[in-house]
Structures are given as structure tokens and as C-alpha cells.
């Protein structure tokens, strides 16, 4: 079938891109903060998001209005994150590989407990805000417009938080050199907990925002979030904001065009293959590459 590119189909492709972009940025940013700032890879990140989803869906089905239910979801996930940090993650700050294995164990436990407690699925929440129609296509306003905007706002907010506030300076000092930071009177333990809590809150936010767009809510959805987040974090590299933004941009271009021109299977595969190639060509991720390029230019 020869494919005709019309304005409407280009628009559909663009909305598909926005949808994918918003999703990847939101799924990634919590993981990216914890990895970029603390050097811990949280393989239970998908389950953190899932807790946000459940924390939103359960109050919603109990009759709480959706925006308030979402706040509950964020709150529940943040509390869970703080508990996990104190009980488990703090033992692994200088053991990257062990942190991956331990959090993987955690993800098995959490996903299975969700299944045991809440059954094999929760009722879906209908997507608010309706659709925008153009030509033969239509796109969900919530997924293709609201979520990307929220994603960008989150990144801007994080940028401000980590560069413009006293907390941001202290947190970055703690990450850079914990010994010196302690000597300067910074409570590094508190910085770690707070940073992890922010990462968890963002995971909860992602879960809360995704709850109405997931369809049926099942305990095995964590894997979907994790893979996209994981891939975007390593493709992006150590710098949280630029890394997330650039990786999500690139990956969603491939994901969206693959899904649009062939099917969603192909979009998913194309994105993963691109991620593999990107890792091979830029072993430090996109921002690692930019960093080394700047250093080389500075040396010349």
C-alpha cells in the first residue's frame, strides 16, 4: 500500500510523537534523578509508578474526584519511597550492581503483593478531556497535549529546584563530594532521603497521570514503564534534565514513526534497537558524549 502523506496524517504522526514523548519523559524523570544524582539504579521504578497508579485508582473508584485521587497517589508513592530508602536503598549507595539486584528483588515482591491484595486487575478509569478530531484521525487531548505539557513543566520545575534553590545547591554538593559537604555542615543523610523522595514523588506523579490512560490496571504493568524509563536514562546519560529531554525526544521519534507506519510492535522494537545502537555509539549516553566533546574542545 503506497502511503500518502497528507497534512492530517502528519498531524497524527506528530500527536503520536507527543504522546510517546510525554510518556517517556514522565516515566524516566524519577529514575533519572535517582540514577543521576545518587548513582543508584532503581529497578523497582516501574513498581513505584504502579503504586502511584493504584494509589490513584483505588480512591477514584471509592468516589474521590480524580485530581484529589491523583494527589493521594503521589503522596502514597512518596511515603513508600522514603520507607524503601531508609530500609533498603541507603545500604547500596556505593554498590551500583548490588543496588540493581536488590531493587529487582523488591520489584518482584511489590508486583506480586499488588496482585495478591488487589486481584488480577482494577477497573479502568476513563480518559478525561475527550478527543480532538482532524480529517480521518483523532487524538486524545489528555495523552497528546496535557501529558507532554506536564512533562515539560516537570523538567522546568526540576531545573529551577536544582539550580535556583538552596536545597538544590546542597543536594548537588552532597552528590559531588559527600565528605566535604558534611564538613560544610550539610546533613547528607537528609539530602539522600529528600532526593530519593523527590524521585519517588515523580514516579507517583507519573503513575497518577497514567492511571486514566492505561486501560485496565494490572500488576504486571510495571515492566512497561521500567523498560522505557531504563532505556531513556541510559541513552540520556548522567545529566538529568538534558539527558531525559534529548533521549525522550529521540526515542519517541522512532517509537512514534514505527508505530504509525507499521504497528506498535514494530515501534517498540525500533525504539529498543535504536537504544542499543545509541549505547554502542555513545557509551556514556548523549550527555556523556556532549560533556567529553566540550572537554576536548576546551583542551584545544
Amino acid at each position: 500500500m503506497p502511503f500518502q502523506i497528507s497534512a492530517a496524517s502528519l498531524g497524527a504522526l506528530f500527536f503520536q510523537f507527543l504522546n510517546s514523548f510525554g510518556f517517556i519523559v514522565l516515566a524516566t524523570v524519577g529514575l533519572a534523578i535517582i540514577f543521576g544524582m545518587m548513582g543508584v539504579i532503581n529497578l523497582a521504578h516501574g513498581e513505584f509508578i504502579l503504586i502511584g497508579v493504584y494509589g490513584t485508582a483505588l480512591p477514584y473508584h471509592a468516589g474521590v474526584p480524580l485530581p484529589i485521587a491523583m494527589l493521594v497517589g503521589v503522596f502514597v508513592t512518596t511515603v513508600f519511597g522514603v520507607i524503601v530508602e531508609r530500609a533498603i536503598v541507603r545500604h547500596f549507595y556505593d554498590r551500583l550492581l548490588d543496588s540493581m539486584v536488590a531493587t529487582w528483588g523488591l520489584s518482584l515482591v511489590v508486583a506480586q503483593l499488588l496482585l495478591i491484595v488487589f486481584g488480577s486487575s482494577l477497573d479502568s478509569i476513563s480518559t478525561p478531556l475527550g478527543n480532538v478530531d482532524y480529517g480521518p484521525f483523532s487524538s486524545s487531548v489528555y495523552r497528546s497535549i496535557l501529558l507532554p505539557i506536564v512533562a515539560i513543566l516537570v523538567l522546568v520545575g526540576l531545573y529551577a529546584l536544582f539550580t535556583r534553590t538552596e536545597f538544590g545547591v546542597k543536594a548537588r554538593a552532597t552528590i559531588k563530594d559527600p565528605e566535604t559537604a558534611r564538613a560544610m555542615g550539610i546533613d547528607t543523610d537528609r539530602m539522600y532521603v529528600t532526593t530519593f523522595a523527590i524521585g519517588s514523588a515523580l514516579a507517583g506523579l507519573t503513575g497518577a497521570l497514567s492511571a486514566p490512560s492505561l486501560g485496565s490496571i494490572t500488576p504486571n504493568r510495571g515492566g512497561t514503564f521500567l523498560v522505557e524509563a531504563f532505556v531513556a536514562v541510559v541513552v540520556g546519560g548522567p545529566s538529568v534534565i538534558i539527558g531525559t529531554l534529548s533521549a525522550a525526544g529521540i526515542l519517541s521519534v522512532f517509537n512514534a514513526s514505527g508505530s504509525f507506519f507499521v504497528d506498535t510492535f514494530f515501534g517498540q522494537m525500533l525504539m529498543l534497537v535504536v537504544a542499543i545502537l545509541a549505547l554502542r555509539l555513545l557509551p556514556g549516553g548523549i550527555t556523556g558524549f556532549i560533556e567529553s566533546w566540550r572537554q576536548r574542545r576546551g583542551a584545544e
Partner: protein, 367 residues
């Protein structure tokens, strides 16, 4: 005269098998090892065929476990994608075996499948290690490779997805995979003995390899890549060889797995399945081949036991227990159970005799 000869042959053999890189270098260890193997060999004679068949599946999975133990525990390459080579080999075994349905065909399939899995590992290893992909990025890349295969195989349900007469089958999987055949066909108890024999042989062979000079180089790469490179070793090459051997071990397990159930489906590439080798190896002890095998047999036996539920605890609790066990081991015994027990034994011996235990120099004594 002849007993003196046997003595020297035995001690030479022990010299090959023993060294600082493996646990269990004492006479009592070998006595225990022989007893354990004898017990496993007697097991099908005293139990029903069903239990023996279940246990032979654990043996097949143990190959997957030791492949990860080998690359991660001894060379520091944490791969979440050993299941990829396991699965590639399982599918390759099915494709070749179904297309050439004869004794000779199935024997060829065995070799073809192991070659396919090993080759895949070599290609991926070359791609990664010669491209400067390291540490956590290796872990993620291997996982992503498994997930790509998972996604791909999942959509092969249509009849156009067939190699010769072998349908790939999408999520329903590939059926009618032949039995394990090596000249003769191995079934049930025969299969049990074939896989047990292969497992014991592989274990002993790996011990020889790990205690050879190549094994020392592997451990050097694990401990400090830069320093090893400074001494003139080609680190990328060492890692490639190790990764390829690891892929071969996983591939062998894949053949056993596919021929065990005459069936394979894309779940062998899934995150849930990819987690299992990491669980087995972390719990058993990543620097202990035997600990890893023991943990695999134990955990899989426990999972089977829980699948019918024990008392108030239903089958759905199996994963919670496995995950919790993993967490607890990583938190309290970061090296895994077998090395921790060994350490404990050494401390007790040391206290009792007031001198350092016999055997090779440990890392502590060098420090």
C-alpha cells in the same frame, strides 16, 4: 605400585581442579561432592518418574545459572540477558529438530542450537566490549536485547512466521520440539542422567578453567580492568571470550529446556524469566559455581512445591518469598550464601586451631 600411580593421578587431577578461585579445595569437600552426585544419581531409582522429570528441569535451568555465575561472578560482567542465548538456542533447537525429524537430525539440532546461542553471544559481546560499553550499560544492553527478542517472538503468531515446517507460534510458543538426542534418544530417566552427567562434567570443566591462568586473568579483569590492561592483557578480548563461553553454557541449558518440555515460548525472553538467573546466582553466591547450582535446585524446587500451595500460603506467594529471599541475602550476605558459609567455616577453624586454614591464599590473607 598401581595404587601409588592412582595416588599421583588423583593428586594431579586435584591440582587442576583446585585453586584460590573456587571454593571447596579440601578432601572432605570432594568426599561430600562424590556423595552428593551419587545421591542425585540414585534419586530416579527411589522416586517416581514425575519427580525425576521435574528435577531434570532444574538441572537444565542450572546451566543458565552457572552461565551467569561464570560471567558475573568471575569476570564482573553482570548480564541480565543470559536468557537471550538460552532462548535463541531453544528456538534454534526446535527449528532444526522439527525440520529434520530424525535421530541424526535431532543430534545435529543439538550442536546447531548450541552454536547459534554461542554465536549470538559472541556477536553481542564483540559489539559491546570492543565498543567500550561497560558496567551498568552492559547490564542494560543485555536486558534490552532479551526484551527485543521477547517483543519480536511475541508477534510471530501468523502462519507467515515459519522456518521450513517449524511454526514460531507467537505467544503460544513453538510445539513438537524433539527430545534430546545424541545418537540415541533420551527420555524421562534417560534424560535425567544425560543432563546430570552434562552438569557435573561442566562443573568440573569450569573449575579447571577457572583455576588455570585464564581463570586468573578473568578474576583480574573483575577486580580492576585498568590495572589488568596495564599488565598487557587485552581486557576486551578476555571479556569477549568469557561472554562467549557463558553464552554457550546458557545455550546448552536452552537445548535441555526445549527438549525437556518439547516446547518453548517467548516468555523465556521476558523480564520475569530474566530475573531468575540473577536471583539464583545472587542467593547461591556469585563466586561459587556449586552454591549457584544448589540455589537453583533449591529455589526451583521450592517454587514447584509452592505451586500447589502449602497450608494457608497459596501459589501466588512463591514470587514474594523468592523476591524477599533475594532482598534479604543481598542486604545481609552480599556475597551470597555459599561464600558466607565458607567464611564462617574458616573463622571457626581458625579459632579452633589458632592458625590460618589450609588451602590457597585468600584475599584477606594477602591483604
Amino acid at each position: 605400585m598401581s595404587s601409588a600411580n592412582t595416588q599421583t593421578t588423583l593428586s594431579r587431577l586435584r591440582g587442576l581442579l583446585e585453586g584460590p578461585n573456587t571454593l571447596g579445595n579440601s578432601k572432605s569437600f570432594w568426599v561430600g561432592f562424590v556423595l552428593a552426585v551419587t545421591a542425585l544419581a540414585a534419586y530416579p531409582q527411589v522416586t517416581d518418574p514425575y519427580s525425576a522429570l521435574q528435577t531434570s528441569r532444574y538441572f537444565a535451568l542450572a546451566f543458565l545459572a552457572i552461565s551467569l555465575c561464570f560471567v558475573w561472578g568471575y569476570c564482573g560482567v553482570l548480564s541480565f540477558g543470559q536468557v537471550a542465548f538460552f532462548g535463541i538456542s531453544a528456538y534454534a533447537f526446535g527449528i532444526i529438530g522439527i525440520n529434520f525429524a530424525s535421530t541424526a537430525g535431532a543430534t545435529v539440532a543439538l550442536f546447531g542450537a548450541v552454536t547459534a546461542g554461542t554465536f549470538a553471544a559472541a556477536v553481542l559481546g564483540y559489539f559491546m566490549f570492543y565498543g567500550g560499553v561497560r558496567d551498568v550499560y552492559v547490564t542494560i544492553m543485555t536486558l534490552v536485547v532479551a526484551l527485543v527478542l521477547n517483543t519480536f517472538m511475541g508477534q510471530t503468531a501468523g502462519s507467515e512466521w515459519a522456518v521450513g515446517t517449524a511454526r514460531l507460534g507467537g505467544f503460544n510458543g513453538m510445539t513438537n520440539i524433539p527430545n534430546l538426542t545424541f545418537g540415541i534418544v533420551f527420555q524421562t530417566v534417560g534424560f535425567y542422567y544425560a543432563v546430570l552427567f552434562a552438569l557435573v562434567g561442566t562443573y568440573l570443566g569450569l573449575r579447571v578453567l577457572l583455576n588455570s591462568s585464564f581463570g586468573m586473568t578473568m578474576v583480574a579483569v573483575r577486580e580492576d580492568e585498568e590495572r589488568t590492561a596495564t599488565f598487557g592483557y587485552n581486557v576486551a578480548f578476555v571479556k569477549l571470550v568469557v561472554f562467549t563461553i557463558g553464552g554457550g553454557l546458557a545455550a546448552l541449558g536452552g537445548v535441555f529446556y526445549a527438549s525437556w518440555g518439547n516446547y518453548v515460548d517467548p516468555s523465556v525472553f521476558s523480564i520475569a524469566f530474566a530475573a531468575l538467573p540473577v536471583v539464583w546466582v545472587s542467593i547461591g553466591g556469585r563466586e561459587s559455581l556449586l552454591g549457584t547450582i544448589g540455589a537453583t535446585l533449591f529455589i526451583e524446587r521450592m517454587r514447584t512445591g509452592l505451586s500447589s500451595g502449602i497450608g494457608p500460603i497459596g501459589p501466588e506467594w512463591a514470587l514474594v518469598i523468592v523476591g524477599g529471599l533475594l532482598l534479604a541475602v543481598i542486604l545481609f550476605m552480599p556475597a551470597g550464601i555459599a561464600p558466607t558459609l565458607n567464611e564462617l567455616k574458616n573463622t571457626i577453624l581458625q579459632r579452633r586451631s589458632g592458625r590460618s586454614p589450609s588451602g590457597g591464599p585468600t584475599e584477606e590473607s594477602i591483604k
